[in-house]
Assembly symmetry: C2
Homo-oligomer: 370 residues x 2
Amino acid sequence: MTTTGKQLFTTLEANGTLTVAIEDVTFPDPTGNQVLVRMEAAPINPSDLAILVGGADMENAEYSSGKYVAQMPEGANAASTARHDMKLPAGNEGAGIVVAAGDGEAAQALMGQRVSCVPGNAYSQYCIADAAMCLPLGDHTAEEGASAFVNPMTALGFVENAKADGQSAILHTVGASNLGQMLTRICQEDDIGLVNIVRKDDQVELLKKLGAAHVVNSSKDDFMAQLTEAVRQTGAFYGFDPVGGGKLVDTAFRAMERVAVEQMDDYSRYGSNQQKRMFIYGRLDTSPTLLTPSYGFGWTLSGWLLFPFLQSVGQEVMGRMRQRVRDNLTTTFASHYKAHVTLEEMLTKDAVMDYREMRTGEKYLVTPWG
Amino acid sequence: MTTTGKQLFTTLEANGTLTVAIEDVTFPDPTGNQVLVRMEAAPINPSDLAILVGGADMENAEYSSGKYVAQMPEGANAASTARHDMKLPAGNEGAGIVVAAGDGEAAQALMGQRVSCVPGNAYSQYCIADAAMCLPLGDHTAEEGASAFVNPMTALGFVENAKADGQSAILHTVGASNLGQMLTRICQEDDIGLVNIVRKDDQVELLKKLGAAHVVNSSKDDFMAQLTEAVRQTGAFYGFDPVGGGKLVDTAFRAMERVAVEQMDDYSRYGSNQQKRMFIYGRLDTSPTLLTPSYGFGWTLSGWLLFPFLQSVGQEVMGRMRQRVRDNLTTTFASHYKAHVTLEEMLTKDAVMDYREMRTGEKYLVTPWG
């Protein structure tokens, strides 16, 4: 069987030229526990944008049919030497129909079904995917299942991580994102305290409507006081941040320390012994993370990535998490999209300039067959 | 028995006025397992300077006999609200003669002996100390024993921490400090790889003479290449930094990531899965720590403090560490001092302007009886 179709590739040359283009490719036959998926829909997540756009100058890029060529600034280019001159696929996840399967039992069982999958080249008409990582979608549409992996498993991962570390509350710095909304619902279901930081009044409203108890608007003058009060009420000394750059993590640590110091009997020049823990799971802001000496030495900041986390928890926990996603795909784990684009439309200036902003609630969905 | 003597106190008022002054005080009689130590010598460590000087304007302070009054800049003052209007003692550690003891067995056993101790008010002619934290010095001088706790236990703590985390090599960002020299000797004795960062050629020489294998000079043009090579040779993905501010931690993470990426088969936009771990154990530079998005998400940065660490390892490990310090006080754990000052001399402009610089190898020793 020969399967051909269109697929997107991204190449960064050593001189900083970034080319993202659609090519006609021939897909291999699936073997063992692989399946071949005819892709119907794939979301553009922030984690995908890093290799699609990165820090490139998209305003002055050359756009042509099914292609753009942009220049990467020197700093961002120097930080990307490891990918220089490699032609990379893109698109972490998506959904489609299994049209061919390897001999393995798990693969054969998926034949003809609509599945969500995590192929790593989801911006494509076809993908080879690992059957073990496919989630059968039953009667759900491809749009409903396209984002069934990254955001749902990440949000569930935060809660798993917090519980494993003995925490009963979480702080999340981008509360109104698709992921933040999922986390809000999960924390209610699991009776975990949650402090949501948002930037706008309508995002406060959105989360309040979902039943969120603690939503703090960072654009308000009394933000720090409100954040401190929310930490005080929940005991959230443990949080997750997808922004990375700037002072958002620092602000969270400072609020946590204020609450911890209130609870101390004696002054200590070293700050409180209350352990404060933050995780950076994205880089929406690629400027440096700033940590001021304002909260002693009782703090830890880590990077957090979904796949290493899933490897660390093992198959059983992961299976339980995935079952929960499937059971609640259109409720707890529902995703929403601002626009649908074809592979070609995805590479137009109008689309790029819009989705690269990664505005809360304005996610794009790629439909590779139009 | 009434014991009176001179003791230093530091007070920061809410308006930012910092007063450090010597007062005549009456010391209580020791009870239980307390001892009263007639102090002979106490070092000025960076950890002591925070409450003695902090960010205050020492150039324009008012100096008088046994006293200085300085102004704290607004930012540093706002970060110190927890100590406002508290009169605090200072001086973590020192050495002296036990001149009175409580009824407890451990206290009585120390009567008449010279000990090193960790009273928290070591800039004083007398201190009440916990017998369990005293280290009998035998025939050692007070100068030899004055710094027997903070630096030795911290350096040993790094190695304990590294071993507990399965590491066989350590990176230290201030290799030529008193603590760095101890760490160099400990790592040789324990066969732990060590990457030392220093800033000057004579510091390279100093550490090479101690037998250090990997000393990298951060003032050289090829610093990053040399640092990367040292990480490559040692496998030091685990390090300690007393500077805190600026890009030193970032630089260490970048060197570690370069080595990790070399060892990867495939490119990953998320960086390597090699866990990179750094600890900030001081704030010689109080500007913000800067973390750039240059090493993926497989990293963790924590504050590190000696006392919480010692609490976490328990009495047995701590006893073993202290025995090792006592057995090697003038070799592995030897400290050196640039100058001796009385309590009064300690508060003169000449002295303050010099020791507040915390230059490598220029530590001061306070001798409260002159």
